[in-house]
Amino acid sequence: MPEGKFCNKTPIQTEEALLSLLSDTRGTQYYEEMKSLEVNKEDLWNRIQKTCKSRMRTWLDICAHCGLCADSCFLYLVNDRDPEQVPSRKIQSMLRTMIEKKGDVTTEFMIECMNTAWSKCTCCSRCAQFCPHGIDMGQMNSYIRGLLFSQGFVPWEMKIGSGMHRVYRAQMDVTTEDWVETCEWMAEENEEEWPGLEIPVDKEGADIMYTCNAREPKHYPEDLAEAAILFHIAGENWTVPSEGWEQTSLTMFAGDWEGAKMQVDNVYAAIERLKPKRVIGTECGHAHRATVVEGPYWAGRASGKPPAPYIHYVQWVAEALRTGKLKIDPSKRIKELVTLQDSCNYVRNHGLAEITREIMSYMVEPGYFVEMTPCKEYNYCCGGGGGFNGIGRYRQQRNKALQTKRDQILATGAKLVISPCHNCWDAIRDLEEEYEIGIRWSFLKPLLIGMVEIPEHLQPKE
């Protein structure tokens, strides 16, 4: 069987196809079909020749096989230093073989590659900082995912995720109507407590256009309300777009570059339509990476920048605290040991390490903030990055991977973990569920709401 009903080379294009794939519980039939999915060798080789250019080729060629990258990788460490988890080894075993064989590889090989690309590397790029030759295995792994996606060798959940973006321009089936309704609902719900609270949709020329992660309207609408409340307290002139509000990109995790472009084009179109002074994204690392760091390139923007200045939520919070738009009530500062999760995607991959420390300096009573070791740009992935969190097939490997973060957190002695990244937040929640170490975890928004001084005119009238 060259292509299956569910497992094939065609990306999901329609709602119908998406629903049908979703009906295949846990991808049972999908993975069964994959076992006989044929590799289109010619296409694979063509694609490699067109896209594997001098950077990747040189990386493959000059890798000194020195092993300095080995213990930079948390997956290598946590899996008892399994030699198969040495970053260079993982990449060489996939890409090198594909190139040496000029694309003439078997179905079993591709399935093995899929297992490696999605369960042995979270594309966190930590190893890139340890390689004398400057070889970035995170980038290479993500490149390999693209090759695998084009051949249909992609985990079931990733295929669905990419399909969601292609059909709804969101990682979950949140339609424009659902979204706008959620905005109205959340504004109404909190109006009483916060007089004048609004979630303005499609306001042109606002100072801020806010974008978020589809999980928020879908599963945690309070997050959206909290963002609104904080903007309200800070007196910001802001808006959300009715279309182009979703900032994440499972297409990026899936290696679906065409879908990634569709997704980010949609957000940029909203920026161009509403012409905000700048855009602020929610507390999500991968969303930031997708829309701000990598997105401009998928969209073909030679400047490497989105159409308007686009910042991560922590940048706005730090600025609001610095300028006094938000003021912390000193008596409400955190007075227990607290630690901070640095998300690879905006810390290692966008240099936002100091700004979160600045936020901590306002929120935490001196002496109560403890760093993880290592931290900042050298922090380890939470254990669930690059799509790992969401793939059932690799649940066991993911749970093992969580041990790194568990041990890092335990070593701090803190019971509260602040995690301004959705994906890390999920991973930390899961690690508590799995290992029960007795910790709590939080985004910045709810903590801030509990701590900021409410300006006179916003205080509820007696």
């Binding site: 001098s54 040189t58 000059i62 092993g67 930079s72 340890f130 400057g134 970035d136 490497g304």
Partner: protein, 225 residues
């Protein structure tokens, strides 16, 4: 034979070596693609160059990077090996004489004692690198026959050179072996992994630009060490 290897063949080898290296560098930079690499090379050239330089500089400095500091043993082997391999051939007195007589270039020489010490240290480091490949599981899994071949090609001119210098019996033979292995090494550089002699700078520059332009360089936190 001696005359040929230090005369006409020298020209051939140098030409192949230099043109080969230039070709690899040009091929590298021409093959960079801002869209595929996802780095705005042109738009942010200034920032990019600054971080490219920083990245190269820090990695050429002992203890200059987080990675080096974490592995002082490996770092020492690396630097001793590379200092020997780069400086001894360039500044050995016997070589400067050949350069003067056959190529007509005047070149300063280093004291013989220093050259000897560097050679021995470099060879010792080479042996340790080989042992490291055999003993450490994470290096063993990466190692291929080619890696040993590269080490052999790189070390052969030094082994034969020091044998000549020590006047071990069979001087003529060792000298010839030294010349041949020297040519082999230079000729191998553009065509093998030894091309990292120039490509190291290219690859480091690229990653420096990548981190500098889009991964935090504008905040002063580009590739961090």
């Amino acid at each position: 034979m001696y005359e040929f290897l230090t005369g006409p063949m020298l020209w051939v080898t140098f030409t192949v070596f230099i043109l080969g290296c230039i070709y690899r560098v040009v091929w590298y930079f021409r093959g960079l693609d801002w869209k595929l690499d996802r780095v705005a090379y042109k738009a942010d050239m200034g920032l990019g160059l600054k971080w490219a330089w920083k990245s190269i500089y820090h990695w050429l400095l002992p203890f200059g990077t987080f990675s080096w500091r974490r592995k002082p043993g490996m770092m020492s082997l690396f630097f001793i090996f590379h200092v020997g391999i780069v400086f001894v051939p360039l500044f050995l007195e016997a070589h400067t004489v050949i350069a003067r007589e056959h190529l007509g270039i005047n070149w300063p020489a280093m004291p013989a004692g220093l050259a000897d010490a560097l050679t021995v240290a470099m060879l010792a480091a080479g042996v340790m690198l080989i042992l490291r490949r055999i003993l450490l599981a994470e290096v063993r899994v990466l190692t291929t026959a080619n890696d040993y071949l590269m080490l052999a090609i790189a070390m052969a001119p030094f082994i034969t050179g020091i044998l000549c210098r020590l006047h071990v019996p069979g001087y003529e033979g060792w000298l010839l072996a030294h010349l041949v292995s020297g040519h082999v090494m230079l000729l191998a550089i553009p065509f093998t992994k030894l091309s990292h002699m120039v490509l190291f700078f290219c690859s480091r520059a690229q990653l420096g630009m990548d981190f500098g332009i889009k991964r935090g360089g504008e905040r002063g936190r580009g590739l961090v060490w």
